[in-house]
């Protein structure tokens, strides 16, 4: 089953996350040897969905999807996930 999200890495300094037609950018510096992921990276949707609040549980789900993509699907070998 294909995931219900899509991820792109359009620049070395950010990741593009899409689901249900909404788009957000997570500021991740891919030059760093170790990538640290936590829910503070999930800051909000791009316009026109920028007014939509993101519940804490959704932030955790999104960052977990990003971790899964990078660490499991793409083979980034140094990714740290903090869900606290």
């Amino acid at each position: 089953m294909s995931p219900d999200y899509e991820i792109k890495i359009p620049h070395f300094y950010c990741l593009e996350y899409q689901e249900q037609g909404r788009v957000m950018f997570l500021e991740i510096d891919f030059r760093d040897p170790v990538l640290y992921l936590d829910r503070t990276l999930v800051t909000g949707w791009q316009p026109p969905d920028h007014d939509l609040q993101i519940a804490p549980a959704d932030k955790i789900r999104i960052i977990s999807n990003v971790y899964d993509y990078l660490a499991r699907q793409r083979g980034f070998d140094k990714v740290e996930l903090d869900l606290s």
Partner: protein, 174 residues
């Protein structure tokens, strides 16, 4: 008449350049650095791709004028650095011609000829060169930067070694 002469001269210089490439005197990547479009690179073994990009990265133009270099690391700092650079007529790595050219390659994207670790290595080298060429005062947005990040491990050590660099300001604390 003049146009014919120019075309002939241009043709002659291309023939000479191709000859030099064939003789392995002039690296092919020279043309990438000068902005002449290259065919998309195709690599069979992974090692060839990383060698290509590590060679390319040595040719890319990441120069900035004196007192113009801006660095960033850590959450939220890239956007601040970009706003500051635009407002103050300064430059971040991705604003340099070489930074933009390498960013356009999307080396971390799916389908890249490089593994993530190789892409990190290539970008680390370009970041190192960016710090090595800096001159005068440099401006850094690094509050919250991690000790394992590229700024702390690569750029800052190079800035400290760089005798052309004056003050290293943490702008986010000003």
């Amino acid at each position: 008449m003049m146009q014919g002469f120019s075309s002939k001269k241009l043709l002659k210089s291309w023939v000479m350049a191709l000859t030099l490439i064939c003789l392995n005197v002039l690296p092919l990547t020279t043309f990438a650095a000068t902005g002449v479009p290259l065919e998309p690179a195709k690599f069979v073994p992974q090692q060839s791709a990383v060698e290509y990009y590590l060679e390319l990265v040595e040719q890319l133009d990441v120069t900035t004028a004196i007192n113009k270099s801006v660095f960033y690391s850590g959450p939220g700092n890239r956007k601040l650095a970009e706003i500051y650079a635009i407002a103050e007529d300064k430059t971040t790595l991705e604003m340099t011609p070489g930074g933009k050219q390498l960013d356009d390659q999307r080396l971390f994207e799916q389908g890249s000829p490089l593994t993530p670790a190789q892409a990190t290595q290539v970008w680390g080298r370009l970041s190192q060169r960016y710090a090595q060429q800096a001159a005068g005062d440099v401006f850094c947005f690094v509050t919250g930067a991690r000790p394992t990040g590229v700024f702390t491990t690569v750029e800052l050590p190079e800035l400290k070694k760089n005798k052309k660099v004056g003050n290293i300001y943490n702008v986010s604390r000003l």
